[in-house]
Structure formats: C-alpha cells, structure tokens
Amino acid sequence: MSQKEINLLEDFEQKIKDDVKIEPKNWMPEKYRKTHIRQISQHAHSEIVGMLPEGNWVSRAPTLRRKVALLAKVQDEAGHGLYLYSAAETLGITRDELFEQLHSGKAKYSSIFNYPTVTWADIGAIGWLVDGAAIINQVMLTNTSYGPYARAMVRICKEESFHQRQGYEIMMTLCNGTEEQKEMAQDALNRWWWPSMMMFGPTDAESTHTAQSMEWKLKRKTNDELRQMFVDQTKPQADLIGLTIPDKDLKWNEERGKHDFGEIDWEEFWQVVKGHGPCNKERIAARVKAYDEGKWVRDAAMAYAEKQAQKEAATQPISKTA
C-alpha cells in the first residue's frame, strides 16, 4: 500500500468511527464497495421479487378496500426496489448488470419469497410477519454508514409501516370471523413463522459477513439480536388475536427479560438459499418473462426519445447565439 492509500484508508476509518456517512465520491476500500453492492442489490432484488407472491392475490382480494391496499403495497415495493437500485448504482454498477445478476441467479434475494401464497390469509401473514421482520432490519439500516443506502432506508421505513398494519388487520379480521377463517389464519401463521425467522440470516456464530459488516457500521445489530427483537415483538401480537406461534419451545424467560425460542431448521434454510425452495424457479421465470416481454417497450421509448431530440435539434433557431 502506498502512503497515499494508507492516508485514504485512515481517513475512511476515521469517518466510520465518527459516524460521518460515506458518500459515493468518497474514497472507500474496494471490499466495502463490493459488499455494499452485494447487500444493496440483494435488498433491491428482494423488493422486486417480493411483488410476485402478493401480485398473485391482487385480482382475488376479497373486498375493494383490501384490493386497493394490496395494490398500493405492491406499488410501494416496486418503488423501494427502484430507490435501492439507484443507491447500488452510485457504487459504479449499472442497472443492466444488476438485472443480469438477478436473472442469471448470480445474485440472491430474500428466500422468503420462494414460498407460495396459497390462501388469502397468506397475504395477511406476509404483511404482519415478513414486513414486520423486514422493518426491524430496515430501521437498523437507516443508520448504516453508506449515505445513499441510509437515505433510501429512511424513505422505505416511512412507507412500510402501513404494510405491516394492513397485514395484521387481515389476520385480525380472519380471527374474528368463522371457525374456518380463523383456521385459515392459523394455517398461514404455521407456514410463514419459520421462514420469517430465517429472514434474519444464519446465527451469529455461522454468519460469515457479520463481523465485517458490524465493523463498517453497515449493520448495527447482529442477526441474532434482530431475530430476538422480532420474537419479542410478535408473540404478544399473536396472543392478542388468539393465534398460536408454531414453536413449542417459545416461552418467556424471566431472567433474560426476553423470549426463548426453538431451533430453526437450518437445513431447510440452506436448501431454499441454494435454489431448492418451493418457488425459486417460478419466481425467476416470472421475472425474466416480464423483463423480456418489456424489451420492445423499452426500445421503442428510447427510439422515440432519440427521434424527438433530433427533430428538436433540426428546428432549433440558429440565430440564438449570433
């Protein structure tokens, strides 16, 4: 390392230490850049793929009120994906490269979206649990060290709280309904609980990125700390509407002032991460199909813009500067 690089690195580390945000044009270690591209794009892809399981229910929402809410939520997710892609692009990767990584399977997205939405209650469970878990993670990230990522998170968090509330309201309504409706809500909780717990990633002992991410203040809390917050937050919410979290080991620990909970099936987690979940292929196929079928529209828009620009240039009065 040259003296100049040593100075730059020291300056970077001082910024991190003093909680001064890193901005796109600031010098940063290559590994910091790469890690952020990976994480921010993974987050963006999750928003985009996350639209698919919910989109499945837009046309079948039980009332108009539910339908407009779900549409607005799905539209927000498109927006969140766009904020995050823009943040990733500030690190010197193009939108096309990002899409290519998603479509080829090189980039990951949150595994939770590889589970199917088989009943209407799943829309409730996703809003309540999946968005609930995502918010815990995202609130932490509003304080992350990379400026554009932190700003995107502030905006996203402001918009997300309605997502969780609409989900919980769906669950609550089902629980106040007929016996069958309540069963449907319980069944959705049973299927979505453990995948939601897995959203926080491997345990701290197993996580390969946590130590470095904490040091860079990319993350402010570990996977296990966030997971604990999720359990402590969700258990009373389940009790309140008379649902049972499918974990026989879940109980209040007086000494810790937190809930104890059962072991996660990590074998299932890794299977889904590796592409063997119930819907991995279906999700990527739907995404690639939409992208490919939209190509002619993108091309036509560009051709139109170029033609308009040429026309404008041709009719421009030449005398302006004379």
């Binding site: 044009k25 010098w27 918009e159 993108r298 828009a301 560009m302």
Partner: protein, 93 residues
Amino acid sequence: MKNWPLWEVFIRSKNGLEHRHCGSLHAADANMALENARDVYTRRMEGVSIWVVESKHVVASNPENSGELFEPAKDKVYRHPTFYDLPDEIKHM
C-alpha cells in the same frame, strides 16, 4: 439497444420551500422522467413541483479537493455574529 439514461430528481414539498434532491431514476426522455418521478417519489403527496435533470449534466466537486475548497472558511470566525463583543445590557442584536 441503448439503455435509458439516469436522471436526478428534485422535489418541492410545498410552496415556500426549495426543491430538494430526493433520488434518481432511469427514463428515456425528460417527459418520462417527470412521469416516473411522480410515481416513484410522490406517492404520498410529498411534492407540489418536480425538477428532473439528466445526471450527466451535474458537475460535482471532488472530495479530494475538499481541503482547499472548504477549509479557508474555517479561520474566518469574524463572519459569524458571535465573534463580536457587546455590552451585557444589549440582549438582542
């Protein structure tokens, strides 16, 4: 086919306030950039006016020159009101 260029988006949240940078997006031309900015950045009445500027037209200072650009202001404390001594009797000036 060429990719849609990148645009920077500025929003005035209400009359009386300045337009502030809020993010960026891709669009084929200025009109589409405005339309997309409306959908992406003002879904909850965040704005009453939008500016879009193609990103390539933004000229930015280089952080490496921050020292010579901004530090000279540091030793000019006489540009601040607190630099000047006033008798205690004068509460507001």
